[in-house]
């Protein structure tokens, strides 16, 4: 799974997606008709359809959660703030890489021997955390880790058990990888792919994608929460590892188009692909912004379940990943051949503005 491995190993914190974008561009250039980078930094690819049907958009975000350098202590420690939503409890004692040169650092943590009794039970706030890059003085640290440089988790892609992988940024390099594979095909409809930026800080990249492309239908391929772990009650799992790709009916940012959801589900049944529905209505992704662009777009999200999302070590099942890919291939093929539904999508909304 070199594609997924390579993608997750690149550092691309929200606002610093350049290297991810370069990699994806290089890999897909040969198989698409047009490719460009827009003003916000999204990578947009286009493949003309063989027939004249509708405009279909596939979207995944390139960015991952991370941090940014905000200051220094006099004795050479680096102060930082999070970029995107991170549970501060996963931070103490982790390794990071700072800036384009990947300066190595560790998030320090007071040893338990030295903690007061009440300290042991409290969560450390990010404001009091610091990164040790080995410097002893402020100006030394300033030279190696400049103000505003981005910081990513230092975490290697590893195979776990017979079927799982552990890596950082599976949310949403998994989605990027799947779309890159799908771009190898040509369909009757016009196919657009957007690899967006800054999803993790508020769906920023996707906000301009719908405006530029004006698609008729869009699929967002994501990595989604999977909390089938000890301590969680069954109805709080949201999704379960190994049960297949996830169809989302509703989350905080979008209520998926119902006919599209039914179409996806029917396709899955027809092609005998295991799927699950997301069992919580929390979280959000680019689908919300695309759905509400211009005069509106029919959207649906299909995701791969990832345990420990937004941490340096998220875990995904390759069976779910392959299932997601197969499901999307099936959906695109079925859309191509289903004339009735295609017409419905085309007539759904006329946005000439």
């Amino acid at each position: 799974m070199f594609l997924l491995k390579n993608l997750t190993q690149i550092d691309g914190v929200s606002g610093n997606e350049e290297k991810v974008r370069e990699y994806i561009k290089k890999e897909i250039e040969a198989v698409v008709d047009e490719i460009k980078v827009d003003k916000v930094g999204n990578l947009i690819a286009y493949k003309k359809g063989t027939g004249s049907k509708f405009k279909l958009l596939l979207s995944a975000h390139m960015d991952e959660v991370g941090f940014i350098v905000t200051g220094y202590s006099e004795d050479g420690m680096v102060k930082f703030r999070p970029v995107g939503g991170i549970d501060q409890r996963v931070l103490p004692g982790k390794r990071v890489l700072i800036g384009d040169k990947g300066v190595k650092g560790v998030i320090g943590c007071k040893p338990i021997h030295l903690q007061e009794k009440d300290e042991r039970d409290k969560t450390i706030k990010i404001k009091s955390m610091y990164i040790d890059i080995g410097c002893d003085k402020r100006d030394e640290a300033e030279k190696l880790a400049g103000l505003g440089e981005y910081i990513a988790f230092d975490s290697k892609y590893t195979e776990l058990g017979p079927d799982c992988v552990k890596a950082k940024a599976l949310d949403d390099r998994a989605g990027c990888a799947i779309i890159m594979e799908l771009l190898k095909n040509r369909y009757e409809f016009d196919l657009y792919a957007s690899f967006t930026v800054q999803e993790e800080i508020g769906l920023r990249g996707s906000e301009v994608v719908g405006y530029q492309i004006n698609p008729d239908v869009a699929f967002v391929i994501e990595g989604t929460t999977c909390s089938d772990v000890p301590g969680a009650k069954e109805h709080e799992y949201s999704t379960e590892l190994g049960k297949g790709p996830v169809i989302t009916v509703m989350d905080r940012t979008a209520y998926a188009d119902k006919e599209l959801v039914n179409f996806i589900y029917d396709t899955a049944r027809k092609h005998k692909i295991d799927v699950q529905f997301k069992k919580t209505a929390t979280g959000g992704n680019d689908a919300g912004k695309i759905q509400r662009s211009r005069c509106g777009v029919k959207v649906a999200s299909i995701s791969v379940p990832c345990r420990y999302i937004h941490s340096p070590s998220s875990v995904m099942s390759m069976k779910d990943y392959e299932g997601c890919k197969r499901l999307m291939e099936a959906v695109l093929t079925e859309l191509e051949s289903n004339n009735d539904y295609s017409l419905k999508i085309l007539n759904g909304g006329n946005c000439n503005v």
Partner: protein
């Protein structure tokens, strides 16, 4: 305005009330001022004031067969209060427009803008009558009332629901070039806009520059959203206030008064352009500080970044202490330098987003 000193410009602007959504008076005055420097100036349906300054295009500023367009924007609106109801005793119950901290309100002098301006005081229970638990909790806006000394009957002839109330405060000169007044956030930004206009007059720059004093930033970023949509600039420069250094706040989150403009860097702001602004500041010996913004900057940059297909945006912030109180404090050189920095950046910017 051409010969007016910066503190006097700031004083005039802070003395005109312009609560979010009700900026008409200030808009009219700003149009007059803009007309002294710009070829054209107009006020749109939401009271945004736009001034356009152009120069004949040259090859460095030509994009797609037209002149490069630069937007420089500073919001003119202020937070305030509004009449919610008048009770039988003539006390005015209030609601806020924009984010007012109710902690500053007890015992504050205010002006109620009814059919005429009426002075009032936001009442507070005398300390002698406070219960011990009450004394430690801050009062909520729902429990405050404005006392005008008038009866309900007389008051209702002049004041209605929806009328605005602003905090009354005198423009004060402190030591070392510092000034204190209400609405320094963001009249200091509008002042910097005017300073930039002054500086750009007579310079050959080649871009079409749109100066916008925008409205409703403190509420819904309405002015920024609609003016950037209409103007469709190639670059946007936002001028706003940021937190100045104060005794009880962490160093990483504040900026020193007098040390210059805080130039924003972070995901929302264009990386290349922000670095370019820093280079211009270094080049031209304009003092500056770096403002790291991990995500939402709390300014109009949030709107311009994603307007239509996106607008590369930079953020210049003026350090202001005690924000959203009636004693906001600023160092006058920071305002002048911000105006200068914006002007020098625009004058040298080319369509390749580099400077010459």
């Amino acid at each position: 305005m051409k010969n007016t000193k910066t503190p006097d410009i700031l004083k005039e602007l802070t003395n005109i009330s312009a609560v979010s959504g009700y900026e008409e008076l200030l808009a009219r005055r700003l149009k007059e001022i803009f007309m002294e420097f710009c070829e054209e100036a107009w006020i749109d349906k939401f009271n945004n004031v736009v001034g356009k300054m152009t120069f004949p295009a040259d090859e460095h500023r030509y994009i797609d067969g037209r002149n490069m367009k630069v937007l420089v924007m500073a919001h003119m609106d202020e937070i305030g209060l509004m009449v919610k109801s008048i009770d039988e005793k003539g006390f005015i119950r209030i609601t806020s427009v924009g984010g007012i901290d109710s902690k500053i309100l007890p015992a504050h002098e205010v002006i109620v803008h009814g059919k005429r301006d009426i002075p009032g005081i936001i009442g507070a229970k005398p300390p002698h009558l406070l219960k011990p638990e009450e004394a430690n909790k801050s009062i909520k806006i729902e429990d405050l009332a404005v006392d005008t000394g008038m009866s309900a009957e007389d008051l209702k002839k002049v004041v209605s629901i929806g009328d605005l109330i602003t905090l009354d405060c005198e423009f004060t000169e402190l030591k070392n070039g510092k000034y204190s007044a209400k609405t320094i956030d963001n009249r200091s930004g509008v002042t910097a806009l005017i300073e930039a206009m002054k500086e750009l007059t007579g310079i050959k720059h080649g871009a079409d520059v749109y100066f916008v004093a925008s409205t409703q930033e403190e509420t819904y970023l309405t002015g920024a959203i609609i003016s950037s949509y209409v103007i469709e600039p190639d670059v946007a420069i936002i001028i706003d206030a940021c937190h100045g250094n104060m005794p009880d706040t962490p160093k990483e989150e504040t900026f020193t008064l007098g040390k210059g403009t805080a130039i924003g860097i972070g995901p929302v702001l264009d990386r290349k352009l922000s670095q370019t602004v820093i280079n211009v500041a270094k080049d031209e010996n304009i003092p500056y500080q770096i403002d790291v913004e991990p995500s939402d900057t709390g300014t109009e940059a949030w709107a311009t970044q994603v307007s239509r297909a996106g607008i590369p945006t930079v953020l210049l912030s003026i350090p202001v202490r005690y924000m959203h109180t009636a004693v906001e404090t600023v160092q006058i050189d920071d305002i002048k330098n911000t105006g200068r920095l914006a002007a020098r950046f625009i004058a040298r910017l080319t369509r390749h987003m580099e400077v010459i």
